[in-house]
């Protein structure tokens, strides 16, 4: 009980020493075989040598490190507690927070529009930004299924793959263009969404997650093995790139190209920048669509279903339709992203659609804060840029990545932005009357 009472004051110095001591002891146990003992090559035979001084320095580092970590975590916790208390007292933080978020959203939009202008000669930056936007769009699509409707989907990459292969096949086999194939591929992905949704209507939580995981693998395995249809592990190559309203991005030739039509000097950067703006527009349309749908009856029904499915039935809601619409819409948005992916890469293979991708997209949604649109953007930035920035650390890259994710989950257990904005307000409708 005393621990509870004094928790807000933080642990005493003695407690901190004890905590660091325990951790150091564990490090000692682990350190004796891992650091303290080593084998050396002596005249062709292996000899066991000891490295006690090194182990000693390691233990000191562990002790101090633990001490500092514990201290800063407690400090963080206390500051959060204080701010929570202040928020509860004033009761204004919610509205204020909403204003801040809107501002951040507009600033992010401004930066994303201006980015390729500033970095027009830096292909790496624009390419990375394009990748971030693909994940943002996928995150927004999965947000409908997981964040709003509360259906845990571990096989979302399947719809991404369906979209990508639809475009790849339609363009290479039938010569369809990007804009003609986009709605068809989206519809195909949506029907796959319903195909997945129909048999899993009665499943929830872990069980649904397992089935969706299986579904994602089924699609990938089919793509690998049905060589006649999908090219198998070799994938599909020379997928046509999207053109600017019929003007291709090519070196000057007989036909009018983008560069010749606008009287510009040909530069391969044109296409990179065009692709960037294309995915930006697609992502913004997605955002607008999901944002509006959330305020419509169907969006509220998704959220209500996430909260309590039985209560939804008791209110006369046909849960089947609500679920299928969430699956279909989420799948369609994933399909659109897939079409863009295929058009951008020019080559796709089942390698690009492994479970790893599903996991990253799900991590984006969960890390961002379930249901939060801006949270998805922030989480995509973190999840795509961290491995990129970590390239200098070579093999420690994934370690860094994992550590960052753990830190975020400690700092913000319900995601970076867990604030939920109501879809309508009584106060806004002249509630004072």
């Amino acid at each position: 009980m005393s621990g509870l009472v004094f928790a807000s004051d933080g642990p005493t110095a003695a407690e901190r020493f004890k905590d660091a001591g325990v951790i150091t002891f564990i490090a000692l146990l682990l350190g004796i075989p891992m650091v303290g003992l080593t084998t050396v090559d002596q005249g062709g035979a292996l000899q066991v040598a000891t490295r006690w001084p090194l182990l000693f320095y390691c233990l000191i580092a562990v002790f101090l490190g633990r001490f500092v970590l514990r201290f800063s975590l407690d400090q963080l916790k206390q500051r959060k507690l204080a701010s929570d208390r202040a928020a509860a007292q004033s009761g204004q933080s919610q509205a204020g927070g909403g204003k801040w978020l809107t501002l951040i959203g507009w600033v992010a939009l401004g930066i994303s529009i201006g980015l390729p202008v500033v970095y027009s000669d830096n292909r790496y930056v624009v390419d990375t930004a394009t990748t971030v936007l693909i994940y943002v769009m996928l995150g927004w699509g999965l947000n409908v299924v997981v964040g709003l409707a509360g259906l845990l989907d571990l096989g979302y990459v399947a719809f991404y793959a369906v979209g990508a292969y639809s475009y790849a096949l339609l363009s290479t086999q039938f010569g369809w263009g990007f804009w003609e194939a986009l709605p068809v591929a989206g519809a195909t992905a949506a029907s796959f969404g319903i195909l997945l949704g129909w048999p899993t209507l009665r499943l929830r939580g872990d069980y649904l997650a397992i089935v969706t995981l299986g579904f994602g693998e089924i699609i990938r395995v089919i793509l690998v093995n049905w060589t006649d249809f999908s090219g198998g592990p070799n994938g599909i190559s020379s997928i046509p790139r999207p053109s600017f309203f019929g003007l291709p991005f090519k070196p000057p030739g007989d036909d009018p190209t983008f560069a010749s039509f606008f009287g510009l000097e040909y530069s391969p950067a044109h296409r990179i920048v065009f692709l960037y703006y294309l995915i930006l527009v697609l992502a913004l349309l997605t955002n607008l669509l999901v944002k509006r749908l959330r305020k419509l009856p169907v969006g509220r029904a998704w959220e209500a279903m996430r909260e309590d499915e039985i209560a939804c039935k008791a209110m006369g809601m046909n849960v089947t339709n609500v679920k299928l619409s969430a699956f279909a819409l989420g799948a369609m948005l994933g399909g659109f992203a897939g079409v863009f992916f295929a058009a951008r890469q020019g080559f796709i293979s089942p390698e690009s659609f492994t479970f790893n991708e599903s996991a990253i997209i799900l991590a984006i949604v969960v890390l961002g804060g379930m249901g939060s649109q801006l949270g998805v953007v922030l989480a995509s930035l973190v999840l795509v840029l961290l491995p990129e920035l970590g390239r200098d650390f070579a093999e420690y890259r994934m370690l860094l990545f994992g550590a960052a994710m753990i830190l975020i989950m400690i700092w913000k257990p319900s995601g970076i932005l867990s604030h939920r904005e109501p879809t309508l307000r009584y106060a806004a409708k002249g509630g004072q009357a």
């Binding site: 009856p297 029904a301 039935k313 008791a314 849960v319 106060a427 409708k429």
Partner: protein
């Protein structure tokens, strides 16, 4: 309720039986629920009251028996054959739950808007009219808002409208659940222990509300309740269940004096006088 004959019951349950394996949770139950009145179903724990509600509202499919609803516009409907969402939507029989089932992260107003999903969804024409913001949809939405706000005002919940439902006190959540059920436009409202966890002042308010709904709004009410101050004060008709069987039926006065009921609640046959006092508490 014009057009409803006071003598024809709104709901007739005939020979209803619900078996789970070897256990008969409801055993050959027949019951008429009069229109525009408050009917209470009482009984000791495990008597089958909630199972009975689940059978009425399509959450369970009864093993044997029929549940007929005399819908004033749609005629006789067989509730036991309808899926649960149709019971609420088409038959307008709406229930609440013993353990409150709100949408906790949504605001109170949103909860009441979700209850009007079917009308709004129809008005939004597969969300297309809604996405385009057409006036037909906007009108439907503001009508739904007005209805929700109307009920919130009458149940003294209007100052909570924009708060998350799950953060509110228990008694308030009970009232929100009733307000939400009322937004579905019920002709028969099934309340599963609405007074559980309410303090005496709150249950007195509940009594007033139930009487108002039955007498002024013409909504028939079917009530499961343990709180005898509610049951005895508002019910027109009481049905007592024990081990899935109906052991008594009648007015509150008759039930209070029924030896079978007293036996079911207290297990003994002696000390009749004390027990009357107990039952009317």
């Amino acid at each position: 309720m014009s057009g409803t004959n006071a003598t024809t019951p709104i709901l007739s349950v005939e020979r209803l039986t619900m078996r789970f394996g070897g256990l008969a949770a409801i055993d050959d139950l027949s019951l008429d629920v009069p229109a525009g009145k408050i009917t209470a179903v009482i009984g000791p724990n495990g008597a089958g009251k909630t199972t009975f509600f689940n059978c009425l509202t399509g959450f369970y499919k009864p093993t044997v028996g029929s549940v007929r609803l005399n819908h004033p516009q749609r005629g006789v409907m067989r509730l036991e054959a309808l899926p649960s969402h149709q019971v609420a939507h088409r038959a307008q029989v709406v229930r609440t739950f013993q353990n409150i089932r709100l949408f906790p992260k949504m605001t109170v107003l949103e909860n009441l808007m979700v209850a009007q999903h079917n009308q709004l969804q129809a008005a939004s024409h597969f969300s297309i009219a809604g996405l385009l913001g057409l006036p037909t949809y906007r009108r439907a939405e503001s009508r739904a808002m007005e209805k929700a706000i109307g009920w919130l005002k009458r149940l003294n919940l209007i100052d909570k409208a924009d708060l998350a439902a799950g953060d509110l006190p228990y008694g308030t959540q009970r009232r929100i659940e009733i307000a939400r059920a009322l937004c579905v436009d019920p002709i028969l409202l099934c309340l599963d222990e609405p007074a559980a966890g309410l303090n005496p002042r709150e249950s007195a308010e509940l009594n007033e509300l139930l009487l108002h709904l039955a007498n002024d709004e013409g909504i028939s009410i079917l009530l499961i309740e343990h709180d005898m101050s509610v049951v005895m004060n508002v019910s027109d008709h009481i049905c007592v269940l024990n081990y899935g069987r109906k052991i008594a039926e009648g007015t509150p006065r008759q039930i209070q004096n029924d030896p079978n009921v007293i036996k079911a609640y207290l297990g003994e046959e002696d000390a009749d006088e004390e027990l009357h006092g107990e039952a009317s508490l």
